[in-house]
Symmetry: C2
Subunit: 372 residues, 2 copies
């Protein structure tokens, strides 16, 4: 997989863009009503974080996030409930068993899981912004800068409890298994975030590439995997299919992280909204950087030396060049391609007729495209 040009990407990504748009239409009303069920003071922070309200409580445009994770939940559910012969699938039987009102079909159930995933994702964003002291997210001031650290921590806690409450209140037969899976994933996200913080404290040569890949898998891959797994569970899939879809999401998630790290070094500032080399200037131990540092080349030494002091623009350019000469850029591009091919393999295990997995594939390709 190579980083495609803007025009190709726009054409290829058309399907995924439409899919994400449909997902937001299906998920946002339920997401909003869940958030609005929070007690007043906590609700205000959450409404701001999602983008439904400005800092002063007046109405805003609504969520700026792309809803990748909810889209994976719904696409996974469709992929495994898909039955070209028109026979009732396990999903439909399960959904009927768990249905409370005549209007609640399989899609309806999976929407709840999609809302839970989006809440869990945003809980981690709220806490990560506090932990990393990030001032902006999606071009807006982060919640902790507006409401203070205590309120941002508390709102994150409440959103996480709300996510798991959605499952506890869901009569769908898969809800308990889904809740356990999401809770396990949150614990893995915590371990990933903890490792990320720990790595930032270490010197340039003190983080191995394996550790860094494992961290990215926990921090980014785990929730994409869990999103797919939850969709599969709600479709009434067998454990083997659930595990394969989880692995599909994880591998695609790692590819996504690799591409994201490449953008953090060589991204176009006009498109990313960040200055070129922002991750290098911040001394971030991203995957291409750690791969370069681990290469044992003279360029690795040069990079390590640059990482020991603050860098001006010229130093950032030299660092980017050193990552490339040390093989970090090539490694990340090949690794991303390899992860995507593993993802496709896992998808084919879960969905033998790959046409049922079209949407999942489109989403995986979308997130690993340079100008998403």
């Amino acid at each position: 997989m190579t980083v495609t040009s803007s025009t190709d990407a726009a054409a290829e990504g058309h399907e995924a863009v439409a899919l994400l748009e449909r997902t937001r239409t299906a998920v946002h009303p339920e997401l909003r009503s869940a958030v609005e069920s929070l007690p007043g003071s906590v609700r205000r922070v959450a409404m701001y974080h999602f983008g439904w309200e400005h800092a002063d409580g007046t109405q805003a445009a609504g969520p700026a996030g792309k809803a990748i994770r909810p889209a994976l939940v719904l696409a996974a559910e469709r992929a495994l409930a898909w039955d070209p012969a028109g026979e009732p699938t396990r999903d439909q039987q399960h959904a009927a068993a768990g249905r409370q009102s005549a209007g609640a079909g399989p899609r309806q159930s999976a929407v709840r899981a999609a809302v839970a995933v989006e809440l869990a994702h945003n809980f981690t964003l709220l806490h990560d912004d506090v932990i990393d002291e990030d001032p902006t997210r999606r071009h807006r001031a982060t919640a902790w800068t507006v409401f203070g650290t205590p309120d941002a921590i508390i709102a994150g806690d409440a959103m996480m409890a709300l996510a798991l409450r959605l499952f506890a209140e869901d009569p769908h037969p898969a809800s308990a298994a889904a809740s356990a899976r999401l809770a396990t994933c949150v614990i893995e996200l915590c371990a990933g975030q903890q490792a990320d913080c720990a790595f930032e404290q270490r010197g340039p040569h003190e983080v191995s590439l394996d550790e860094c890949v494992a961290m990215a898998m926990s921090k980014t891959g785990a929730l994409l995997g869990a999103s797919c797994a939850l969709g599969a569970l709600y479709a009434g899939a067998e454990e083997e299919q659930v595990a394969a879809l989880d692995a599909f999401g994880r591998e695609a998630g790692l590819a996504f992280q690799l591409i994201d790290d490449l953008i953090g070094i060589w991204g176009d500032p006009d498109r990313t909204g960040k200055p070129a080399g922002a991750d290098l200037a911040a001394h971030k131990k991203s995957l291409p950087v750690v791969a370069a540092l681990a290469s044992g080349t003279p360029a690795a030494e040069e990079l390590a030396e640059l990482y020991r002091s603050p860098m001006d623009d010229a130093a950032v350019r030299r660092a980017a060049d050193a990552v490339e000469r040390a093989g970090g850029r090539d490694w990340a591009q090949f690794e991303a391609a390899d992860r995507m091919s593993r993802a496709v393999h896992q998808l084919s295990r879960a969905v033998p007729d790959l046409s049922a997995g079209d949407d999942l594939l489109a989403l995986a390709e979308f997130v690993t495209r340079r100008n998403r």
Copy 2:
């Protein structure tokens, strides 16, 4: 209810002390094995927080907490599963339906709920210590002072996910209802903690007594109520009994908070480990203080004036005297007695034969006793 002397308390509390000891014996092994299931880096913070490990990772004495909430879960479960005639109760039938191995009886199931409650409680302690910047808890350095704020936030998040995962993995028929109840309670705890932070920012006359009582009910009452409700759910009780036991725990929790606030002003430093008047010196808007401020008396004005500046020891003594003259001390003592009588009334609604509720009553009396 008046604040009893040390000797009376020791005699009267004997039953509760034994009950708490038995609870710790039943709950701590499962609590520890749950905490040990966390990923390494997160586990270390959690093991330290609970007191199983010192800061350097070496073995320590174990939890210093009294396990009040787990004891309430188990006592509530026994109270509602209690059947003097020896007929199989709903609890026993339910537990049999949900049992996976021959050894797992009703007690076993309620232990899992007790562990979940203790995890949820300790998740709030970890985050509250970060938010309030408290340097010590139970005579030890708080986790954030030892491991840093990021690790303390992350460990709290993981403990909360773990608590709800215990329910999601529990085949007991009440587990989903219990999970929803605990998640709802966590959201209320968040609202209570948020209100507490907000009140600290306001002037002496800007917090009403009603707001302050509502905050204490959310911050302290809610989890004691939920503990009782979870025990009732695991006993297979009717919704009306569950609600009455929840109300019992909440009222007892408010009485507990009132007594705790009295101790914060007039407590014996030798017994509490805190200097006399510590809450006054910290300008804390505790319940007796807010009641005094709301009294419209000259002493209220005096107190408000003292709360506008830092206080030396003499000023703290004058403030304590002003709370007393403004009626704050009497109000809190009468209110605590009233809340306890409401608690007993709710208990009698849930458990018509009060002898089955002996343990719950003993626990409520224990927590509202001065020298607990």
